[in-house]
């Protein structure tokens, strides 16, 4: 018998992406309600018909999921607030799935959304975490750019990666984004553009960075029979993992928590990296995508540059990756950045991805990474989804 119980009978459905905006005068509450409404409409549900609700957001303050129940007229018997940034999509999924599986809830709406006012980003950084305020932001106040610059610098030293290697990821994602109508970036990107871009924090340049924006993403978790009853395309959850503060004594983060749990993931899912039809990594910087590709078993540590040199990461390629352009090209809508890959993956494996659809996509690996609490991302998560045959 497997060490961990599967998610049999539980499915994920009704993926929704509310088109992003660079700056918004609206609030996080507004963005979250739009995503929730669209997801419920897709499933033919009214707000009081869901009994589970989980929210991820950075700009909801002073409210939490609790305040939203009253604000949005919800009456859930299962409620969660997941402040895990880039890891929150998969974490929301696996918690909701267990709740539904155990009968603690029947239908759980998982929503992430943030607004982006002018100056929101600076304000968010200023109060992000205690360690960041104490020990990271006083050193140039470059935000995550600095953390990832240091990490990328170390990665390049350690594994002989080049800027071209990172650039290929960004260029492929831009190609993918051109197929995705909601993407913020609508202009093609060449490797030359990438290499010549304005430096932000060496070796990080403009196209290594995401564009902060406003937006929201949502999906529903329910029993398979419920999805079938409502005639919804759905995906099954083959396996998930989650880990926090792994490898704390590594001087610089060159690996994430996935390495501790990756075997577990594939054993639970009963498949291997080579079985994936597409991969959605958390991509706030390309080096992190490389780290996930390594730590989730597609190649050995430090092998990602070489692995990707021989692969085509576009929707039509042999290694479809971040098929809607990811955050690098679609934009980073705060905590919705932790949902974008998952929501796109649900569309892909349910054959509803429209312009970005990978041909015959059945199985997707989705990975999350989040929360630069001090010098590195603390949270990691991953899930394997499979479309209902």
């Amino acid at each position: 018998m497997a060490r961990r119980q599967g998610y049999d009978g539980v499915v994920v459905t009704a993926p929704v992406s509310v088109p992003y905006e660079r700056y918004s005068i609206e609030t996080a509450h507004w963005w979250i309600s739009r995503a929730l409404r669209a997801s419920l409409q897709a499933a033919g549900l009214k707000p009081l018909e869901i009994d589970g609700f989980t929210v991820s957001s950075f700009t909801l303050s002073p409210d939490t999921a609790v305040g939203l129940t009253q604000h949005l007229g919800l009456c859930p018997r299962w409620l969660d607030h997941i402040p895990m940034g880039g890891a929150s999509g998969v974490v929301a999924l696996r918690r909701a799935a267990r709740a539904v599986q155990a009968g603690d809830a029947d239908i759980v709406a998982c929503v992430a959304g943030d607004t982006n006012h002018i100056d929101s980003f600076r304000t968010l950084l200023s109060g992000f975490s205690r360690f960041a305020s104490d020990a990271s932001y006083p050193y140039g106040f470059g935000g995550p750019n600095v953390n990832f610059a240091l990490l990328t610098d170390r990665y390049m030293q350690e594994f002989n990666a080049t800027r071209e290697d990172f650039g290929r990821i960004c260029v492929a994602q831009r190609d993918n984004a051109l197929r995705y109508p909601n993407a913020m970036m609508k202009k093609p990107l060449t490797l030359e553009d990438y290499l010549n871009a304005r430096a932000i924090a060496d070796p990080i340049a403009l196209f290594d960075c995401v564009m902060p924006c406003a937006g929201a993403e949502a999906f529903l978790v329910m029993r398979e029979d419920e999805a079938i009853k409502r005639n919804l395309p759905f995906a099954r959850i083959n396996g998930t993992i989650e880990r926090h503060n792994a490898h704390a004594s590594d001087p610089v983060q060159l690996r994430g928590g996935w390495t501790l749990d990756v075997e577990d993931l594939y054993e639970m899912a009963g498949c291997a990296p080579s079985d994936m039809d597409l991969v959605q990594t958390y991509d706030d910087y390309p080096v992190i995508s490389m780290m996930q590709i390594e730590d989730l078993g597609f190649c050995e540590k430090g092998g990602a540059p070489d692995f990707l040199r021989n692969r085509d990461m576009t929707v039509t390629g042999d290694f479809p990756h971040n098929t809607n352009g990811g955050q690098l090209s679609a934009g980073q809508a705060g905590a919705a950045g932790g949902f974008i890959g998952l929501v796109e993956a649900i569309r892909q494996v349910t054959g509803t991805a429209a312009g970005t659809q990978v041909k015959d996509a059945r199985r997707a690996l989705v990975s999350g990474f989040g929360m630069i609490n001090y010098d590195r991302g603390v949270c990691s998560s991953a899930a394997i989804l499979e479309g209902a045959a």
């Binding site: 140039g140 470059g142 600095v146 610059a149 030293q157 001087p251």
Partner: protein
């Protein structure tokens, strides 16, 4: 090597002076331990009292054994620069004015990795020594420096931003009559100060230091800290040219409350030592605070020379020391008031000095040259609290250990 600092060109009078800005100031209470150590120029980290694990960033519980006993200890500042970057974009106005800004990751020999500022002479992968310095927000920050001194090392723009270096700055010494005035002036000029002004009160009364000062390239300005109109006039004329103000004005007579029997000298002590500081601060403070972003010779520091007995008093100099305590308390308020401009208040606590009023005391005593040396070093290291001389250091250590024990030690009665 760092590029040697160049004297500033004359300012374009049509250009607005750069507004004072400062790096992020917010810190947890635990992190202020780093600030406290930086104020005295020490490199200290939290070390678990139970398991010995060295912690960084500062925290409330040991990340190895969960003990909440995490005293700050002076530890080895050595490590290796394992990654670095030049920040070229930031939303902080302070750093925007100073881009690109070099930041790096240093793995300490003791274990933890730290994100820190990086001196321009550090090579990636090389051994470095971390300094714990106060930044312009007045908070302790770490800066990696080369293991061996390099030419013009102190001129590195990032290191200079964390110092109050007198080099190429204009300094006002408020009291030419103080026995330490010539030594201070000489040391400042030797440290590369662009100009040294000395305030001179009661020019109708000669004083021996004048001759020594006249041999130095100093400029005498009429200034009497007990005379509000004199202080205001001088600030109006020269306030915009003062980058460092050293308040060495002091009125001292021996004696405690009963030995004195009146409030006469005490009034003089309060007039000079307390109200004098207040007058100077009210006159020079605002204009200096407005010039903390003003380039190579920005206004940078306010120095008070205080008696170590301002920490804890005893009857020998009881009334005088009370005025010093008042000045010390005022300096704390000034720190708060100057903080948003980033103007640093450096208190130099000095033990008995070689002067008329300490004649009856046995050695060790602080010579004017030793005091001047400590003041200059404190400025270069960007300190907030300097203890000059063995007596002051001893007193500071005792004060840290237990103020009540120190008080009783200093206030023992005579044998019956």
């Amino acid at each position: 090597m760092s590029d040697p600092l160049q004297p500033p060109v004359k300012k374009n009078p049509q250009k607005r002076t750069v507004s004072p800005t400062r790096p992020p100031e917010g810190r947890s209470r635990a992190a202020l331990g780093l600030t406290a150590a930086a104020a005295e120029g020490r490199f200290a980290l939290q070390c678990c009292a139970e398991c010995g694990a060295v912690q960084y960033p500062p925290r409330d519980a040991c990340s190895t054994c969960l003990s909440t006993e995490l005293p700050w200890r002076d530890v080895s500042p050595k490590g290796t620069l394992i990654a670095d970057t030049f920040v070229r974009a930031t939303t902080s106005l302070y750093f925007r004015d100073r881009l690109p800004w070099r930041t790096g990751t240093v793995q300490l020999d003791l274990g933890p990795s730290v994100i820190c500022h990086v001196h321009g002479d550090c090579e990636k992968g090389a051994r470095v020594v971390l300094l714990n310095r106060l930044d312009r927000a007045g908070q302790g920050v770490l800066i990696a420096t080369p293991e061996k001194r390099t030419p013009n090392m102190q001129d590195d723009p990032q290191l200079r931003a964390m110092s109050s270096d007198p080099k190429l700055r204009r300094v006002l010494i408020t009291d030419a009559r103080s026995p330490n005035a010539p030594a201070l002036a000489k040391a400042l000029l030797a440290a590369g100060a662009a100009q040294v002004f000395v305030g001179e009160g009661e020019i109708w009364r000669p004083y021996p230091e004048r001759a020594a000062l006249e041999t130095l390239a100093v400029e005498f300005l009429p200034l009497d800290v007990t005379d509000t109109s004199s202080v205001n006039r001088m600030a109006a004329e020269y306030g915009g040219k003062i980058d460092i103000l050293i308040n060495n004005a002091r009125f001292l007579r021996p004696g405690g409350v009963l030995a004195r029997g009146d409030t006469g000298f005490a009034r003089d002590e309060i007039e000079v030592n307390y109200l004098g500081l207040m007058r100077l601060a009210q006159a020079f403070g605002p204009v200096m605070c407005a010039r903390t972003g003003d380039g190579v010779n920005s206004a940078v520091a306010w120095v008070n020379i205080l008696a170590a007995t301002s920490l804890s008093n005893s009857p020998e100099m009881g009334c005088f020391s009370a005025s010093q305590s008042a000045a010390r308390a005022l300096s704390q308020s000034l720190r708060g008031e100057f903080r948003s401009a980033g103007l640093r208040v450096m208190n130099t606590y000095v033990g008995p000095t070689e002067d008329d009023w300490h004649q009856p005391l046995p050695p060790p005593k602080v010579t004017p040259n030793a005091l001047a040396r400590d003041v200059i070093k404190g400025l270069i290291d960007g300190l907030e609290d300097v203890y000059s001389g063995d007596v002051a250091k001893d007193m500071a250590e005792k004060y840290r250990r237990d103020p009540k024990v120190l008080e009783r030690e200093l206030t023992m009665g005579d044998e019956a």
